[in-house]
Amino acid sequence: MSIDKKIRTTSLYQMHLDAGAKMVPFAGYEMPVSYPLGIKKEHIHTREKAGLFDVSHMGQIRLVGKNAKRALESLVPVDIIDLPLMKLRYALFTNKDGGVMDDLMVTSLGDEDLFLVVNAACKEADFEHLLNTIGVECKVEFLEDVALLALQGPKAHEVLAEIAPSTSEMTFMTAKQLVINGIDCFITRSGYTGEDGFEISLLAKDAEELAKLLLSNEEVEWVGLGARDSLRLEAGLSLYGHELDNDHSPVESSLNWALSKVRRTGGEREGNYLGDNIIMSHLNEGTESKVVGLQPEGRMPVRDGALIEDELGNEAGQVTSGGFGPSINRPIAIARIKKNYIENQSKLFALVRDKKIAVEIVKLPFIKQNYYRG
């Protein structure tokens, strides 16, 4: 195998190799897709105990300055100005056509200080976008030499409380800055698995020490990107490039819940972000298609890209993410489906290798989300 010189690694690369990880290129990084436990067991372990994920490939950006909140609001259809201190909010960078450039997590570190976590594959473009659009209004700082660990699962809070007792007071979507074993950590109670859990941002040089400390607890196992995908799919969470892209508005991607009321038509700070007219018209008048859950009949997985047809063979939509849900032990999928088929509860079929697999439109998520709200 030849290794592309441009491919990057995280500060935990050697630890992954030592743990026996299968490494794959992902968003320009060599990342662990699975460990010797295997995707299925890593997935189940996360649902039952606690999984540790290296997500250091994701982008971490800081916006600092008097106008930081107002400036970020001009790029997202989300209320940032009233985001309380040390609280997180899910947001979307929109484009001028109302599509989505990326989705992100925003934490308020103060009235003049925001912390963003963005997708690995989009991070350079996001940084450019921020610099070009709001670079004069606030300082846009791309954090280098940082790592991001996610500890997810029903035992995550116990594991973390053993080494950082004050984290047990945290509720879902809140943040805390603290020192664990002499290591500066920025901790949020959040994640991408549908389980309770934490994401920990820290300096890259400290990541190995903290990872070892967490793994010394017998409830914790390394979990790779393979299980991260099946976990988020069961939890009905969108993945950029699949449910979200530049060609579809957040409304078309069924993310109405992420669009803050104050930024909608009639709201106190309505519109004033890229693509606002299109997104607000989608909100007010509806869209031709939506993203929904699909339950395929039988055991054959229906994968991304599979076309969905009605009984007569008319195209009804397409699968955006599909695979197998290890916790529910059956295939599951998310698809973009034309609205009339959703409203009529039509009988639909997925085309897999010239076979027609019956699929039923179902509510997302496929598993009960298990967040700690206090």
């Binding site: 295997g38 299925k40 393979g226 055991r299 054959m300 997985p301 197998f324 295939p331």
Partner: protein, 123 residues
């Protein structure tokens, strides 16, 4: 025992003059990861060497089983439909895929023996 191997990581065990059992190797199942579904051909189907005859689905992706020989499929391991994990647990035994009556036994000569296959996978 007369077991041979293909470059597509299948094993072919000769059972009599023109009858073979076919499955995937341990190396292949380890590469694939946890299997969640196996789509088998129909008994009576003809297969020709190099053709896709079965689909193996892991949590992550779908892969093809490529016929290492030509012939008629006379039996399939239908247990795999409900228990694809048999392939992971016992790829050379309980996890077999199909039995084929060969139409051209000389094709067996093109397959590798175990030591050749082992060096092939080490590359």
């Amino acid at each position: 025992m007369s077991i041979k191997f293909s470059e597509d990581h299948e094993w072919v065990e000769l059972k009599g003059d023109d009858l073979v059992v076919i499955g995937i190797t341990d190396f292949a199942q380890e590469q694939l990861g946890d299997l969640v579904y196996v789509e088998l051909p129909e008994v009576g189907d003809e297969c020709s060497r190099g053709e896709n005859i079965s689909v193996i689905e892991s949590v992550k992706a779908a892969s093809d089983l490529i016929a290492p020989v030509s012939g008629t499929i006379i039996e399939v391991n239908s247990r795999l439909e409900d228990e694809p994990e048999l392939v992971t647990e016992d790829s050379m035994g309980e996890g077999w895929f199909i039995k084929v009556k060969l139409s051209n036994t000389s094709e067996l000569d093109d397959l590798m023996d175990e030591s050749a296959y082992n060096s092939f996978t080490e590359e």
